[in-house]
Amino acid sequence: MDTDLVKLAQNGDKGAFTALAAARADRFLAASHRILRDFSLAEDATQQALLSIWRDLPQLRDPARFDAWSYRLLVRACYAEASQTRRWTPNIRLLPADEPMAADELNTVVNRDQLDRGFRRLSLDHRTVVVLHHYLDLPLDEVAEALGVPVGTVASRLHYAMRALRAALDADARSTTRKAAQ
C-alpha cells in the first residue's frame, strides 16, 4: 500500500509524489481518454489532475483513501476540460487491439463503431461512471466516493448508460438482420 508514500507527499516530499504519480499517470491518461474521447484533452486533464493532487494532497484526511480521492480529482479535471471546449473530435482514432477480444461479439468493426457512437452520445456523467466501473474496475461504492454522489445515483447512471449502449448495439443487429433479409 502507498500510505507511507502518501503521508510523505502530504508533507511536501517530491520524491514520494513522483512515485505515486508515476504509478498512476498511464492509467489516468487512459481513463481520461476514454471519458473525454479526445487524446489532447485527456492529456490536459491528466496533467491538471496530477498537479491538483500535488497541490491539495495535504487536505486529504485519510491517506488510505488516496486512490478514491485522486480519481475524484481526475474526474473533476475531465469535467473542466470538457467544459472548456465544445470541440468533440468527429473522428476519434480507434484503439488498436493487441490481444484477442473476450468474445466474438466485439470482432466486428461495425460493433466498435456502434459502441463508439453510442458511447459518445452518452452524457459526460454517464461516460464517467462507465469508465470508472467497467474500465478502472472500481466497485459502485468507490465510484460514488470518487464522484461525491450517492451510490444510488451511480447505479442509476450506470443502468441508463448500459441500456443506451445496449440499444446502440441492438440497432446495429437489427440493421444487419434487415440487410441479410433483403
Binding site: K14, A25, R61
Partner: protein, 317 residues
C-alpha cells in the same frame, strides 16, 4: 434480458480494455517540472481555532473599532453582551443590513468590503461533483472584518483575543467522505478533554445542548430555542472562567468540542464568551460560534450580531 445485459457488459468492457498504449511519460515530466513552483495547500480542516494575533494588530483593532462606532447600524441580540449574556432574537431573519449600492470596492488592507456578500463557509464542489454540504453566506455590515471562506472564520480587525476581540467561527459537517469534517463530540471537561471525550457524538440539538450544559470547568446558560433561515436551532452561552489556567489543561488547550478526530474548537483566552448557535439543517448540526470578551466594544458586538443574523444557508444532500 439478464443474458443480454451480460453480453453488453462483456462487449463494453472488452472495448474499453482494448490496449491503446497510452504513455503519460511526457505529461508526468511536465508535472514534475511544475511542482517545483507549485506550493501545496495546507489542510484547512486542521485549523479550527482563530489564529493568534500580534499586539500591533490588536492595537489597530482597538483604534478601528472606535472609528467604526459612528457608522454602525444597531442590531439587537448581543446588546448586553458585555455582561457575557448575549441573547439573540428568538426568530431571526436574513439580514436587512443596508447594502452599499453598486459593487463594493475591496479595501486595500484586505478586509471585506462593507455591504458585500461574503461566503463564510462553502463545502460545494466545483466541476464534477455536486455540493456536498452546507454553504453559508453572510453580509458584511461594517469595515474592518477579515475572513476566510476555507477557514469559516471572521474576525474584527483580525482580533479575536482577550480583552476586546470578537469573531465568528462556523462548524458544519460535510457529506464528503474524503475531505470532510465528521461528527461533533462534546468533551465532558474542556480542561481535561483528553480523558473526557464521549464515545458517541452529539447528533441532535437536544443532545448538543445537554452535553454543553453539562460541561465542567466552565459556566453555561440555559439553552434557548430559535429559528434561523427556516431552520430550528438552540443557542447557549458558554464562558471560560476568568481564572482558568490553560497551561494546567491537557496539552495547554481548553477545548469545547472536536469535530471528527482532528478539528477541535478550543478557547483563545480565559474570560472568553462563546455564544453557540446550533442549527439543525436537515439533520446535520451547524454550529455558529460567536466569540467575544467583556471588553469587546458594543458596536463591534452589534456588527457581529448583524453578520450572524444575515447568514443564509444552502444545503446540498
Amino acid at each position: 434480458m439478464s443474458a443480454d445485459r451480460d453480453v453488453t457488459t462483456r462487449i463494453v468492457r472488452s472495448w474499453l480494455h482494448e490496449d491503446a498504449h497510452e504513455d503519460a511519460d511526457r505529461i508526468l515530466n511536465l508535472v514534475l517540472d511544475e511542482i517545483d513552483t507549485t506550493p501545496q495547500r495546507r489542510a484547512n480542516w486542521l485549523a479550527r481555532r482563530f489564529p493568534p494575533m500580534n499586539s500591533n494588530v490588536v492595537r489597530f483593532a482597538l483604534v478601528a473599532a472606535v472609528v467604526v462606532l459612528v457608522a454602525v447600524v444597531g442590531f439587537q441580540y448581543l446588546g448586553n453582551a458585555n455582561t457575557g449574556d448575549p441573547v439573540p432574537s428568538e426568530t431571526s431573519q436574513p439580514s436587512t443590513t443596508p447594502v452599499a449600492s453598486g459593487e463594493p470596492s475591496a479595501p486595500a488592507d484586505g478586509s471585506l468590503p462593507v455591504g458585500s456578500s461574503h461566503i463564510l463557509w462553502d463545502q460545494s464542489q466545483d466541476g464534477a461533483t455536486p455540493n456536498l454540504g452546507i454553504k453559508i453566506t453572510v453580509t458584511i455590515p461594517a469595515s474592518g472584518w477579515f475572513g476566510d471562506a476555507k477557514e469559516g472564520t471572521l474576525g474584527k480587525n483580525g482580533n479575536v483575543n482577550a480583552p476586546d476581540g470578537a469573531g465568528l467561527i462556523v462548524f458544519a459537517r460535510t457529506n464528503d467522505l474524503l475531505v470532510g469534517s465528521g461528527d461533533v463530540y462534546v468533551y465532558g471537561d474542556p480542561c481535561h478533554w483528553a480523558s473526557t471525550k464521549p464515545d458517541s457524538p452529539v447528533t441532535t440539538l437536544d443532545e448538543a445542548m445537554a452535553a454543553l450544559s453539562a460541561q465542567t470547568s466552565r459556566d453555561a446558560s440555559t439553552p434557548v430555542d430559535f429559528t434561523h433561515d427556516g431552520y430550528a436551532g438552540k443557542y447557549i452561552n458558554l464562558h471560560v472562567p476568568d481564572d482558568a489556567v490553560f497551561s494546567d489543561c491537557d496539552e495547554g488547550q481548553f477545548r469545547t468540542f472536536v469535530q471528527g478526530d482532528d478539528a477541535p474548537r478550543y478557547a483563545q483566552d480565559p474570560g472568553q464568551f462563546d455564544l453557540l448557535r446550533v442549527l439543525d439543517v436537515n439533520g446535520q448540526l451547524v454550529i455558529f460560534d460567536v466569540t467575544h470578551y467583556a471588553g469587546t466594544p458594543e458596536s463591534v458586538l452589534d456588527e457581529l450580531s448583524a453578520i450572524v443574523e444575515s447568514a443564509t444557508l444552502e444545503y446540498a444532500p
